[in-house]
Amino acid sequence: MAVFQPFDKLPVLNSATLLLVGSDRGLQQELAKAMLQEKKSFKISIHLATSLPLPSEGDHLRPRIDLIVFMIDVKTKYSLKNVEASLAHVAASFFLGKVCFLVTGVGRVNYCSVEMSSIWKLGEVYCSPVLYCELELERTRVATAQRLLRMLQICAGHVPGVSALTFNFMLRNSY
């Protein structure tokens, strides 16, 4: 069982890496596209995965991962189960601010197949922020992309004086 470590590799100059984990590839790609279209002052690479662990063959080629985003679609229970299974492969130190849960499909209560409380519980147990959005709407998708980019910037250590842990703490306290 390969476990990820947040600090086992050195950062690359002026670049950041995001890992998107989710069962819906279409939504993942839409979000990744939106993030790439944003204007930004640093290089980013986005890795898409349907589940963890990542194959160990590519381990040496993979840059340091600064932020893991787990995508949960409230319309399918499978996405939640998939995320829950993947979480076991992430090292504990990642949860010091380098993980966030992205819940999509919010606002479609009538299509809801997932209990919201189990999602809150997930955020609470893993000490990580839960972001709610609707990726199928253009505007919220763009806003979410901007938000994630900003988080990524902080998690990659590009913002002097703010570490991922500080940010995580502030975010969780503001709920």
Partner: protein
């Protein structure tokens, strides 16, 4: 499990980035690196602190105190031996002076000294005898020890023999068990493959298996994991 990396920085973009390398860019990158260094060192410190949490500073002091105590004791002992030696030298010097006077007293002292010499010789002879006897006792003890050792080795050899005998018996059983297990696993795999194939055939044939009771029984049977 599939993972797709997307490296996006078109070449023209990169050129523009190269052109944009100015003082501000460098300052920004310097700040980034400082922040990253800070984070990494924080993590490293945290790890180190976790490892050497219990090691205190009191130990070296205690060790030094012990060392000094030992030194003081040694000094005291050497002081005493030196005083004793000095006293002996003083006494012999006094005796020698007395004997040089050659009077009645010195005659007595000479006799006493001669007696002492004789007695000392006798003591030395007895000591020699005692040493020889001790030597003999030690020899005997050594021989006994040797015998004991040999005996123990023999016992060990016997034990080893016994164990080897038992092992050879046991490995035979284990081997057969292992063979049986591998055969069992192989059969299990084959059966599950056959099950899946059969299931797929039934599903693929688009027969409504729920209608035929015997076919339904077969299909429901296939669900069971062996």
């Amino acid at each position: 499990m599939a993972e797709g990396g997307q490296e996006q920085q078109p070449s023209e973009d990169r050129e523009r980035a190269m052109a944009a390398v100015d003082v501000f860019y460098l300052l920004r990158v310097r700040d980034q690196m400082k922040q990253q260094l800070l984070e990494c060192s924080a993590v490293a410190d945290a790890d180190k602190a976790a490892v050497s949490h219990h090691a205190g500073k009191e130990r070296p002091v205690q060790i030094a105190i012990e060392d000094y105590k030992k030194g003081i004791e040694n000094e005291i002992v050497s002081f005493w031996t030196k005083t004793l030696a000095l006293q002996r030298i003083q006494i012999t010097a006094a005796l020698r002076d007395k004997m040089k006077q050659n009077d009645n007293d010195s005659q007595l002292i000479l006799e006493a000294v001669q007696d002492i010499v004789k007695l000392s010789e006798a003591i030395a002879a007895y000591q020699q005898q005692a040493r020889e006897k001790e030597q003999k006792v030690a020899d005997i003890q050594r021989q006994r020890l040797l015998l004991k050792k040999v005996g123990r080795e023999k016992l060990k050899q016997i034990h080893d023999m016994m164990r080897k005998l038992k092992e050879t018996q046991a490995t035979g059983e284990v081997k057969t068990l292992e063979e049986m297990h591998t055969a069992y696993q192989k059969e299990r795999k084959i059966t599950s493959i056959i099950q899946n194939v059969l299931q797929c055939i039934i599903i693929g044939s688009r027969v409504n298996w729920a209608e035929d009771p015997s076919l339904k029984a077969v299909v429901l049977q296939l669900e069971k994991n062996i």
